[in-house]
Amino acid sequence: MSLLVWMASFVAGLVGSLTGLGGGVVVVPLLALVFHVDLRLAMGASLLSVIATSSGAAAAYVRDGVSNVRLGMFLEIATTVGALAGAAATGLVATGALAVVFGAVLLSAAVLSLRRAHEHPPAPSTGALAVSMRLASTYPDGDRRVEYGVHRVGAGMGLMFVAGALSGLLGIGSGALKVVAMDDVMRLPFKVSTTTSNFMIGVTAAASAGVYLFRGYVDAGLAAPVVLGVLPGALLGARMLSRLRTRPLRLLFAAVIGLLALEMFYKGATGRL
């Protein structure tokens, strides 16, 4: 059991990383549908694997000055409060309903993952919050550093609260929604959006983890092989991403994940999970 869970988690980490969806959102349906693990225990194990992969990946991005640490920490106020609310809600929602929400979120994330990155022309920050909190920064591009501004911080924070709530409710990283908030709404460079999202995910998940631990959603016997599988899988995926042409692969994975999402949705709706 433990070795099979480990292998499945490795694959989930790899696929999650290659698609940009994150390991957690892939490992939960795998555990629940294939291994018939209780949904809440699967979410607890996933949440810990999310902390591991995001912290591991963020270390490199922060060192290289790509993540915007000030912006990340400022937005973490919204994501952690959201995570607390979401984690608290898991106790009030029936398992079937959780699975339905999970399926819907996974399906939209799979569709979102097929989007191409768009570039925003650099412009100084707009809005009083972005200016007074000095959120504008630079990121490295080859030898030079590119300046960028931050926009619509209020709306971004609102979305971050939702991302945090989904993270706490479902035991996932909610990276896809965080990137939407930063890339589309706050108009950050794509590279900064993804790396700052990674930087924030660990703290967001930690805010849910406290509640999960109290509730007994984290079983060491399950979480240990899941963490040990997802972490190296995700790291390998990140390495492969920089070398492979991944567009056809992403389409294939998005389709598989879409099917998993539909099955979660269906089983949840018919009370079979």
């Binding site: 810990l48 902390i51 270390a59 000055g65 920490m73 607390l84 007994g216 060491a220 016997g221």
Partner: protein
């Protein structure tokens, strides 16, 4: 003494995250290996959610259990180190912002730390 800059803070935070994850992974791996050697043939069943005996103890009780080596002590300790890593990262950032005399961001970091503390010690809601 070297001056406190954003770059120095970035390096410290990166080092902390890397160390935390590596240490956690090593502990969990060691715990798993020991467990497999002892109980390799057992079939665990996670299909039914049962309330673990330590549920009401929260983090403090878990840490006590891990240190006592009960259950899957080492793996549990590793998982706790993992959860503590982002918390330590926020605390370190609060300290670094204070050294930079960036008081607004000290406040931001402390608010986040407060939410985390509520989750770990008050978050039974």
């Amino acid at each position: 003494m070297r001056p406190w800059t954003d770059e120095r803070m970035d390096h410290l935070i990166a080092g902390l995250l890397r160390t935390g994850v590596l240490l956690a992974a090593a502990l969990v791996l060691a715990g798993e290996v020991v467990h497999l050697l002892r109980h390799g043939g057992d079939l665990a069943d996670f299909s039914v959610f049962r309330v673990a005996p330590w549920q009401t103890h929260g983090v403090v009780g878990l840490a006590r259990e891990a240190l006592a080596g009960r259950g899957q002590g080492l793996a549990l300790l590793g998982l706790l180190v993992l959860v503590a890593t982002p918390v330590a990262r926020v605390a370190l950032a609060a300290f670094a912002f204070a050294a930079e005399r960036d008081w607004i961001y000290v406040l931001v970091a402390l608010v986040v730390l407060g939410v985390l503390a509520f989750s770990f010690f008050g978050g039974r809601a």
